[in-house]
Symmetry: D2
Subunit: 343 residues, 4 copies
């Protein structure tokens, strides 16, 4: 795959925002996704966009509007800051483009609804970038549930811990840990169980950095979710993990359990008189999840190309926002909060 | 060690109740515990007591009172049904015997307090049989916390699932899942963290057998505990597990994590075109925990012999009862319940 | 099970030699083997025999001959030093007793043949104590081969390393590493493959303790065996292993592989910024193999009781001796040596 | 990195041969190696070269000679069929280019010597593509040896099995399993131990496909190597493995052991009443070794750029050829063969 293979059967993807995530998406689409190519990029940071455009020998658009309007763009990947997502999504929908939008759709529920309405009205495909659904290990847990391998589901446990917290400047615009970080786990809970969440009970506190607390956020949270079918999910999150990027999912049912366990940086180990010693969990999220991002693109491209539903729908993007808002309320009031209370 | 080596430096243990657990204690004391021996047994079921007495060539007492009063008994192991624990404990205390009492002390908080008061008044050693503290894997987690290996503790997760539920007749007298089964995990939470629990939030439901629900109990519970130091512990319990006796503990802190994982029936495995295949988790609780019961006796005997505090105190026996009562209330009212509300 | 339950349906086992191994056998038969009991013991070291006899409340015989002749003895367990095995085996056979003989039968092939002939002539059951066949993990590998789970067998790898070498005084009478230590792995190779060995190529050297070399032995050996069906087995042995008692078996076939892996002292582990850390392999052979010794007794008792072939036959005891003699010759001459050359 | 970032500080690599391996090298240099870029490609199969040239927007040379002579080429990667390696290597050396040559250098020892002499005479950097040295797991074993973590080395075990045999047409030109497949493990043995091999004993046979035997090759081999320092290495190879690409290395020393274990396709697993189940070992060699190829390029580029020795020297390319020739002789004559006998 490359820009030089431009042809009718390629899905031409325009990338809006080429910061850390957008730049990665551009590289993946350019190098690792059959059936798609980068059609061009835009970023308000001109030099960043220029570097990516040059690297892949593609157009650098003068504005988001221009990229969205281009006849050379079939699909728009929205990788800009969260507060700009919905405006761009609406514009792309009105232009009739297929849409790949990074999570979260928005921190504001009414904005999300405006975006979903626009996509529905335009009849365009909309996908929300919950990449972890495409991780082979997590997917094996979902499949074990969906295929009945572990019988009737009873309990789910999700552990997700970052190696190190982001800068306070990012914390300030993140929407808080529930909407920024736990939102992945809220989505995972729905993905694994295949069931909506009806109630949230959450504890949030500061154990990593007091500055995070001063910024009005928590850095460590534990959440209990009740699903419509009675299954209970627990989530453990922390912004700092000494041993790397801790990413685990576990499902328990009447017929057994399914687990998605951590990777290691490598599979060498030693045995000495001091005991066994093994490598760390990968420290960087891309070391763990690059294949999930590739798989996500492959499935998005296939869905759009074949006119099938996108793998993660707009509704899938909306539900975790409700859960995050419920979690914030639950911590504040120290009580279980129903989703019905939120929206 | 055996009854034929009766000597002045042996702790002579009288066993009250020789059902499944009491019989096991008799065998362990007789065969695997240096410095202790079985002094005699009593059970209301005469033939059961006779079999154990014959097996170890020791006295079968005519009554609990007689055993407790005997000059040949230094310590009394109370392994009878829960509702008889405190009366026997008080009698043994008044007779000046060291006491090893199976968990739970009682289902009734005022009874527990009566028992603890009697032991304190008599100045006798009292140990409560939370054997899992003596499991080498779980203890390694406690040590990693206590020794600072994983830094400041943040979150704990305990998973405990039985292979199959007990008969309904047992459910009826068990005091309910929180006081019968989760009580081990309540103790484990205090043991791992070294911190008291101040609040309990619990969900309990029936997913294994409707007859358990008809008996007024839950068979599946998820609990969130808040400790006095801010650490949050989650507990997942179920009365039925298809893959065996699931017993895991995990602690997470600023410096890393410590995990106690399941054993396997054996460590053979196969790799074929269908993937990897390994043995089950042991199905029977004794297959997992016999060494913990042996270690418990060794430490109890050493403590009594050396005049040191018993490894699990009367207060350690009382605290989990409060947590269990709080959990029952929490499920009933669907709200977090503080320990202070209970007692 | 105990000596006090003496009854007609118990196999009454007389133990000859109650050193480390014989004493263990006495304890296992007394406490853990249904259908068998200790009938009495004899040891040239009088006090050792007295202690074991007292512990199990059984007879201490005045001589091996007396024990063998006793009407209260159904089976004789020969646990004395290797050079006395065959004389005792012949005596027990002539007395019509079932025989459980520790490995190796003898270091002298003609002696072995004399013993086997006596047992055959007398028509008594003869079992040779290769306990590792009764380890659940190793057995799972054998079963995967025998049941066709891994298809047609191609290669086997056996790793067996002791925590620490025995004293030189023991080395001097051991028959050398191939007949003392590797003999277990020679047996394992036959057990796993179900096929005789036709050729041996071996390297032996000293890397642990020069004193072992001065005693004329090796402390480290690597062996390649060719089986009659073309399968090739490698064996790695060493008298010293810093990380514990290393005991592994691996079989590879057209349909996959089966592995028996090491145990750990416990299944706790930590993850910190320095990586993962886990417990040692058990250091003491009994920590690993006690269940195999119990299983061995259970199967021996069942075979004798039911008149079925013993699980490890006299021929199974003879074959590894040939392999050991071939290995010694192979190292000395640095060439592959056929079993046919030996006997 | 991309062709469009052509600049003075990039090592410009010309790729000779863009079949499966050469094409992969082109992609890696183009996309994943800082400090290097693809300068152009040549392949006798014109269309294959055109596709790679177009994909990376680089020159397609008309002949190997033209590529080697080009001023736009700093280093030549020789990825053609084995029988052409030395002629190209000599030409590149005479043109003063840095050389990256795929393994094996040649199947003919005198040819290898001609190549090494040319490189030495020209004073150009020469690297031989034993990529497995750059695998993080295998390297951790080498480091544990080199850093003394496992004390004085005693025994090494290498297991290497392909998922499926190559076509017979490839077998016919491969030089046989020892020079085509085991050669990686011969190199690994030298890499891990840091010691030359002085003697080889090998068994080779056919257990996968009789057609391989008819082609005069073995498909299954077991090898025992003796190193100059007394360490013994065993190698198990097979052309077919039902469970994937089996790649393991294990080193044992006076202070412990170091192991490099297999990866899994993912780290999900299930536990049911049938036992544990996990994912396969990756089936395709690139799934396992792509990072090692990237690391190899990074280290080669750094070495050439900094004027330091290449990570795998010409002598490192020669030694395994001797071992392979010795292994062939050993199987044919069923005796240990010294390296000194070969060359």
């Amino acid at each position: 795959m490359s820009s030089s293979q431009n042809s009718a059967d390629q899905l031409r993807v325009g990338i809006l925002g080429v910061g850390r995530i957008g730049s990665m998406h551009a590289d993946l689409v350019a190098n690792q996704v059959e059936g798609a190519e980068v059609a061009g990029v835009f970023d308000v940071y001109d030099e960043g966009a220029a570097a990516v455009a040059q690297r892949h020998d593609v157009a650098q658009f003068a504005s988001a509007e221009e990229l969205i309007a281009s006849d050379d763009v079939d699909a728009v990947a929205i990788c800009t800051s969260t507060d700009t997502h919905i405006d761009l999504l609406v514009a792309a929908a009105e232009a009739g483009k297929a849409i790949f939008c990074e999570k979260p759709l928005s921190l504001d529920l009414s904005e999300v609804d405006r975006g979903l309405a626009a996509a529905t009205a335009a009849g365009v495909p909309l996908h929300v970038g919950f990449n972890r659904r495409f991780d082979a290990g997590h997917r094996s847990v979902r499949n074990a549930v969906a295929d009945g391998v572990i019988g009737d589901l009873r309990q789910v446990a999700i552990t997700s811990r970052d190696p190190a917290p982001p800068p306070i400047s990012y914390i300030n615009v993140s929407g808080g840990i529930f909407l920024d970080m736990t939102i992945h786990d809220f989505d995972m809970a729905r993905y694994i169980t295949g069931a909506e969440v009806v109630e949230v009970y959450a504890k949030g506190w500061v154990s990593v950095d007091p500055a995070i607390g001063e910024a009005g956020d928590y850095d460590t949270v534990t959440v209990m979710l009740t699903h419509e079918n009675g299954v209970v999910t627990t989530i453990d999150n922390c912004r700092q993990s000494a041993y790397g990027y801790d990413q685990r999912v576990e499902a328990f049912g009447s017929g057994g359990a399914a687990l998605s366990e951590n990777h290691r940086e490598h599979y060498g180990r030693t045995l000495t008189a001091s005991g066994g010693s093994s490598a760390l969990v990968p420290n960087f999220f891309l070391d763990r999840y690059i294949p999930s991002y590739v798989n996500q693109w492959v499935e998005f491209v296939a869905a759009v190309t074949n006119g099938e539903p996108t793998p993660v729908s707009g509704a899938d993007g909306r539900a975790p926002l409700l859960m995050g808002l419920a979690a914030n309320k639950s911590v504040a009031e120290n009580r279980p909060v129903t989703i019905a209370e939120i929206g």
